[in-house]
């Protein structure tokens, strides 16, 4: 049995369903990221697991104990977990006092508290902040204190609710470093929620996509980002090319799919007549002035509708009879002299396409 097993978990507030039938399992030592847009129910899920709230239905098994059934079991389980909230929270005391709280409540000896707190201060890179009033810290520093406070009690399950939300990129980077260190060195079981899918990809062994209270897909980061289970997941994980089509025929191991009168070749076992979504990540599309002579099965000519420069990258929207979005470096875009209305060739491999069934 998994270390953390969530079965059919639902939560309703004032007749509004926030979580619906969520099933998730996390093994001991695993890092699981639940990603989803704002309002998806990520915080509610984390709060339910930490027993700060009670589910409307469903079960949470922590180390095989049903923590939703019994108050005493819940109290016992909670002491084996620690939560870092989205908004950094510090008590009205200095940094050392904040971090030591959990240990004091567990009646640890002073010398043990001193040693553990100092160790954890070094891990989060705040050894010089010991005596400082925690309320005078920046957001990123407060969050590191919160993480230290959670780590020092050596939880078996660490819950992180969007730990880097509202922080600047430098603070995000520092905190991700700390988390990566914890994941590597301490082998703590971690369940984190984030709206930053790339963060989930960087830190987690397993990713779950939560949209509108439903856990739509759980899998490895690669599965989620390259093979989303449905349109909603695809839209969230950044698959910006989602085309409605129909399988025409199977030919030499490839499916020929009709998309607005044009034929796309993809690898799928779906049979002729099936309605499908054709999903292509923008990074998989190659743009060229001339027809591509590579092995790509799919080559289309189109006209540029839009070019948007985003720092080192450029997003190019092209109309090939259907809209496609490609990404290339800004330098390449300038080299190709991409302008609106200019003809351009797009190519992508059959293996770069992900196909899912579509409800007609």
């Amino acid at each position: 049995m998994a270390f953390l097993q969530i079965s059919n978990l639902s939560k309703t507030y004032d007749r509004r369903s926030v979580l619906s039938g969520v099933n998730l399992s996390v093994d001991k030592g695993e890092t699981c990221a639940v990603i989803g847009p704002t309002g998806a129910g990520k915080t509610t899920l984390i709060r339910l697991i930490d027993l700060l709230d009670t589910p409307s239905s469903g079960r949470i098994l922590f180390d095989s104990i049903d923590v939703t059934a019994s108050g005493r079991a819940g109290n016992s389980a909670r002491r084996r977990m620690a939560l870092v909230q989205q908004k950094p929270v510090v008590f009205k005391m200095n940094v050392f006092g904040n971090i030591a709280c959990g240990l004091k409540w567990r009646h640890q000896r002073k010398d043990v508290i001193w040693s553990k707190v100092n160790d954890v201060l070094e891990i989060v890179g705040m050894g010089d902040y010991r005596e400082r009033d925690a309320r005078t810290l920046s957001g990123g520093e407060m969050q590191r204190v919160a993480i230290a406070r959670a780590l020092v009690i050596e939880p078996e399950l660490l819950l992180l609710d969007e730990p880097t939300a509202n922080l600047d990129p430098v603070s995000v980077s520092k905190i991700e470093e700390v988390l990566a260190h914890i994941i590597k060195e301490r082998k703590t079981t971690i369940l984190m929620s984030t709206h930053d899918m790339s963060q989930g990809q960087r830190l987690a062994d397993k990713v779950g996509v939560l949209v509108n209270g439903e856990l739509l897909q759980v899998g490895s980061p690669n599965e989620i980002f390259c093979a989303p289970a449905n349109r909603k997941v695809a839209e969230f994980v950044g698959v910006e090319n989602i085309l409605a089509g129909k399988v025409l025929r199977q030919e030499s191991g490839l499916a020929i799919i009709d998309v607005k009168g044009r034929e796309i070749q993809a690898v799928t076992e779906l049979q002729p007549g099936e309605d499908v979504y054709v999903m292509i990540r923008p990074e998989e599309i190659t743009l060229a002035r001339d027809r591509d002579t590579s092995s790509a099965r799919n080559v289309f000519e189109g006209r540029i509708n839009k070019v948007v420069l985003l720092g080192p990258l450029a997003r190019v929207e092209v109309d090939c009879g259907f809209p496609l979005l490609g990404v290339l470096t800004s330098a390449s875009a300038q080299e190709l002299k991409l302008t609106i209305g200019k003809p351009i060739y797009l190519s992508f491999k059959a293996t770069a396409i992900h196909i899912v069934k579509r409800q007609a």
Binding site: N75, R79, V89, F91, C101, I153, L159
Partner: protein
């Protein structure tokens, strides 16, 4: 003004005795109220139950209860025919202390609840998620709201020391026994000794001012923290195991 000043600097032993009694009654009733209202207020705030909103509204409406009404209530309870008549407290210091405690308790309890409401919920949830027991969590909330908590003590004390209705109705204004500064002021005014009444009034204000300034200064200098004030009021007990 000169005659008021002269009265102020030449106050007699009756007056100082009344002043001391005012302080004692107010402090004792405040302490009793704290002992009752802190835990009750904490219970009301941290528990969810039907009618909680109504209860808090009722408490808040009792803030402006006239002292004579409380005096009447306490008189009815302590009179021979009343439920507490056998205690023999009527026209004694105990009656005044009891009455003042009844007067300020709704204020204290309501303000305890307000003080807790000013503490961000994420603070107490963080404490709980770190394994704090219920009592430990309450202590965290008290620490976070310590200035509000001190303010409510000052408000309760001020209301008690300045009330007249209760002291008059159930104390009897007996010299060297139940006479307080407020009842003495009332008496001197009725006797026509206006300057003396003014002097006593100024004395009462000075006492309240000194106490407030002392508490404020202690608060600002952090000495209250070093006194471990809250540990003494709310001793930490063993948390539940597991």
């Amino acid at each position: 003004m000169d005659s008021i000043w002269n009265q102020l600097v030449s106050l007699d032993s009756d007056t100082w005795s009344a002043a001391g009694r005012s302080l004692w009654f107010a402090a004792t009733s405040c302490a009793i109220s704290i002992i009752i209202c802190f835990p009750l207020g904490s219970l009301i705030h941290f528990r969810q139950f039907r009618g909680k909103g109504l209860l808090v509204s009722v408490l808040q409406s009792l803030y402006c209860m006239p002292t004579v009404l409380v005096g009447l209530l306490v008189f009815s309870m302590l009179s021979r025919a009343g439920p507490m008549g056998e205690l023999g407290w009527l026209f004694s210091p105990n009656a005044i202390i009891f009455g003042q405690a009844v007067l300020i308790s709704p204020i204290m309890m309501g303000l305890v609840i307000s003080a807790y409401s000013g503490v961000d919920k994420s603070i107490t949830e963080t404490a709980v998620s770190l394994g704090a027991s219920k009592l430990q969590m309450v202590i965290v909330a008290v620490r976070e709201a310590k200035y509000a908590m001190l303010t409510l003590v000052i408000i309760g004390f001020s209301r008690a020391i300045s009330e007249l209705g209760i002291s008059m109705m159930v104390g009897g204004n007996i010299n060297f026994y139940t006479r307080t500064l407020t009842t003495a002021i009332s008496l001197e005014t009725q006797k026509g000794n206006i300057e003396k009444a003014w002097a006593m009034g100024i004395l009462l204000l000075l006492i309240a001012l000194v106490i407030n300034i002392t508490i404020y200064s202690l608060q600002k200098s952090g000495r209250l923290k070093r006194l471990n004030l809250f540990r003494r009021i709310l001793p930490v007990t063993q948390s539940r195991s597991g």
